[in-house]
């Protein structure tokens, strides 16, 4: 049976792990490669690096970090943040990423998803969707760290990028990110039910019950969290045990 994945996400800026509250306040929380090794050993199912400065400062992404991580962690690694072109995808894959995540660039030009998927396969193309509630049961895409509204319906956009070839959706609720109030479950469920590919729920995890709800109520295939893991509040093992106790299949060995 396929297991529900728990994915610690390392927000990275200037080569260091940070965790922004609503992407504003940054706290330096260590070396990404060291953190990756620790999560590898702790039984995380995948790792995610997001270069949170790349979009606004127009910087390239972190090839060196990908390479150093892939040398030591034999587990799947997704990298996102500032990925704009098929060449960006290629460079990250060659550096050691297993999956690459588009965000703003896919909103500006959804066809870049198709070009990348045609070249490298859907299995390594993730589209990160940052959405905010604009009315009950209605969510829209926001880009540039949640600062720029686009007027694009999030569910419709998810369908479009999956048709273009996205193999997975990384869905972040901008209403919840950094609040520790739990995932936006109606949003998560609307998108999970709308697309045939796996959806990773992100944004707002504060307790282990939130992880459970993301799967049971949000229908997510994987759950992503940062601060509850980064500051030692809960271990990956505790999170998995809690999910298993709730009847969710997880990889315990």
């Amino acid at each position: 049976m396929l297991k529900t994945r728990i994915i610690p996400c390392l927000d990275v800026a200037d080569g260091r792990v940070v965790k922004g509250v609503n992407f504003v306040d940054l706290i330096d929380a260590g070396d990404p490669v060291e953190a990756a090794i620790a999560y590898n050993e702790a039984g995380a199912d995948e790792l995610c690096f997001l270069d949170i400065h790349a979009t606004h400062e127009n910087r390239g992404t972190m090839y060196d970090l990908a390479t150093r991580t892939a040398e030591q962690c034999f587990m799947p690694l997704t990298i996102g943040g500032g990925v704009r072109t098929v060449d960006d995808v290629r460079n990250l894959l060659l550096a050691g990423a297993d999956k690459v995540s588009f965000n703003s660039a896919a909103v500006a030009d959804p066809d870049v998803v198709a070009r990348a998927a045609d070249r490298f396969g859907s299995q390594c193309i993730v589209v990160a969707i940052d959405a905010k509630t604009v009315a009950p049961g209605k969510w829209e895409i926001f880009t540039h760290g949640g600062r720029r509204e686009t007027g694009i319906d999030a569910v419709e956009f998810a369908r479009i990028v999956v048709e273009k070839g996205a193999g997975e959706i990384l869905l972040t609720s901008m209403d919840r990110d950094g609040t520790r109030a739990g995932f936006n479950l109606p949003l998560t469920r609307a998108i999970s039910d709308a697309v045939p590919v796996p959806v990773i729920a992100s944004g707002g995890v504060g307790t282990l019950d939130h992880l459970v709800e993301g799967v049971t109520e949000g229908h997510a295939s994987a759950v992503l969290a940062a601060s509850i893991f980064h500051f030692g509040e809960y271990t990956i093992g505790e999170a998995k045990a809690h999910m298993a106790a709730a009847g969710i299949p997880v990889r315990l060995s």
């Binding site: 396929l2 799947p76 894959l93 396969g121 994987a222």
Partner: protein, 212 residues
């Protein structure tokens, strides 16, 4: 001892290279080289065909590089060099692939590559993540790997094996999904051993030590 990972422009070889290098150091398995050159394949003692991407595109890349395909056939079919196919590299071992179009495979495993169609419609495709293996047939590369061990899969097509003796392991995803195939000199894994932590590294080490 030289292990060559064939680079045919199909996906990320860095992590596979690092995993094979690491396990080669542990088991005294010699040198690991990533190459797209026919002469390297000709002198290889062991051959790995990794790969991400679509069956027809990968087959065409493999055949598109000068002498590469011929060198692979010579090494594996004629000289019986131990072979490991990973993900699409495993699927290419089949007789026929049905991804997008009908494509002739290497024909080393009596099987066909077809779209995953889980019996439960709520199951997502691609089949992405950790699934537990069920061992079907003993094989030297499976030493120390047991039913219940997890491996990391990411694929939308899978091989249906016609000859049950070539099915070494499977997993369940709304039906049987082939996980490992094998013959007396060849093994293929649908999952990524280089991404499957301890069980994956173990399989790589076993394969590097395997002397069929």
């Amino acid at each position: 001892m030289l292990t060559v990972l064939i680079d045919y422009a199909a996906g990320n070889l860095h992590s596979a290279e690092k995993a094979f290098q690491r396990m080669a150091r542990e088991v005294d398995g010699g040198e690991v080289l990533v190459s797209d050159r026919a002469e390297d394949i000709a002198r290889a003692d062991r051959i790995v065909l990794p790969g991400d991407g679509a069956f027809p595109a990968c087959m065409s890349e493999l055949k598109g590089q000068a002498g590469l395909f011929e060198a692979l056939i010579e090494a594996v079919e004629v000289r019986g060099r131990p072979f490991l196919g990973i993900c699409v590299g495993m699927q290419l071992m089949a007789r026929t692939g049905f991804e997008y179009e009908t494509t002739e495979g290497l024909g080393w495993i009596d099987g066909e590559v077809v779209a995953i169609a889980p019996g439960d419609p709520s199951l997502k495709v691609p089949h992405m993540g950790w699934n537990d293996l069920v061992i079907d047939s003993p094989h030297p590369v499976l030493e120390g790997i047991a039913t219940g061990d997890h491996a990391y899969f990411v694929h939308s097509y899978q091989m249906q094996v016609a000859d049950p003796s070539q099915l070494l392991a499977h997993c369940d995803y709304g039906g049987l999904v082939t996980a490992i195939v094998g013959t007396d000199t060849m093994v293929g894994t649908q999952f990524h051993p280089e991404k499957s932590q301890s069980a994956g590294l173990r399989l790589i080490a076993n394969w590097l030590k395997w002397a069929p």
